[in-house]
Symmetry: C2
Subunit: 230 residues, 2 copies
Amino acid sequence: MTAPDTQEDAPHTGAPVPPHRTPRGTLSRELLLDAAMEIVRIGGADAFSMRALGSRLEVDPTAFYRHFRTKNELLDALADILIAGDEPLPSTGDARADLRESLHQLRRCLLRHPTMAAVILRRPPGGRAYWERANHAIGLLRGLGLSAEAATSVYQTLLFYCLGHVLSEARAVAAAVARDRRPGTPTATFNPPAHQLPDLAAAVPFLRADTRTQFNEGLDLILGSLPAPG
Amino acid sequence: MTAPDTQEDAPHTGAPVPPHRTPRGTLSRELLLDAAMEIVRIGGADAFSMRALGSRLEVDPTAFYRHFRTKNELLDALADILIAGDEPLPSTGDARADLRESLHQLRRCLLRHPTMAAVILRRPPGGRAYWERANHAIGLLRGLGLSAEAATSVYQTLLFYCLGHVLSEARAVAAAVARDRRPGTPTATFNPPAHQLPDLAAAVPFLRADTRTQFNEGLDLILGSLPAPG
DNA sequence: ACCTGAACACCGTTCAAGT
DNA sequence: ACCTGAACACCGTTCAAGT
């Protein structure tokens, strides 16, 4: 039922992506997006450049400008695919549970390629998948008896919390990847300078908690103040 | 008391940053950071490159590698300065109010240069200012009677919410800047495709709400479930 | 109609050479 | 000790030319 909580970005060796010969005249948005996703899957977000896309499809690096006006436009299309994911939006009838699950889903979608998450989150949201998620979640909140205004407010709080959490997890993955590439660098994230910061020192043991549970605790906190089911 | 809620990034004309003649042998970390901050202030995050820094200081673009090992290291030092801000951490005795104010402070620090926010938030946090803020906030939460574990959990929820909110605001500013550079592009953020998304359509009027108030509402929601003052 | 390839105006970083 | 400058290996994008 629940997709595995994996982060499947590749070892980021910067290794060349194997080419896929493309017959002339067959370039399409779909083919380009597939190839781009494959590059990200194999080499992470850093590996994705117009030139890399060109060499993967054995096509001139400038051939895409017929299908996407800019790299950012291609990126937005890629983001929409990732945000859509491959699971249907939850609708078990239990609005509270569905809401929680829909945010877990969004987190999983974005963390599927952690190095991509930060890149996606820098762009203003515009894809259909993003707005469908918003519509779904706001609908669930209104189903709990909230006004449109209150539902919007709560949704934005949940969404921003989710985005911040994902960003933070994605950063940690990126840092770990960088450490593997150039070993010897300590993990700054979980080795904070707790010297002369006593309350931080007390918190350090709890910063290591697994991030899915941590995410869920935050959801509990935010959802805790909602009206009880009637 | 409260700093103005401004976002003071420049018009981002890409205009050349005026040079500041630098006598030989006087390059220092501090001078480099000052110049870098000035470039960001004038031209936004996009204008900041090693070469731009070089031409501003009238120095070879590779002269910095004595003081910072990489551009990212310089960026992290810059981030620390921004996160530190220029206001003291609030300590009025009212832990709840101080907590709220400390998060408003963090938001203001990061939004001081909105184009920089997304760049900063991509990097793993490591600076002293970041950890001092964490220590301060966790201390306040423990002062409210929370255990170290609970305080850590609540702090992370608040922090991630704050980061997501800031990211979202920064994205909107960046989009607005891009629109000014190439006018005619509609605002996707606040013109969601509400067609066939009725709950989203109902929410649209409330998405425009001013972002400071919106931020505060989210804080209320998260802080609402904390134990009442004893 | 669709793709090519040269070209433009950039990047971050390294390293031998200068002063 | 400190800075220079050429060089390396890249970027995204434009546009005239080809097929």
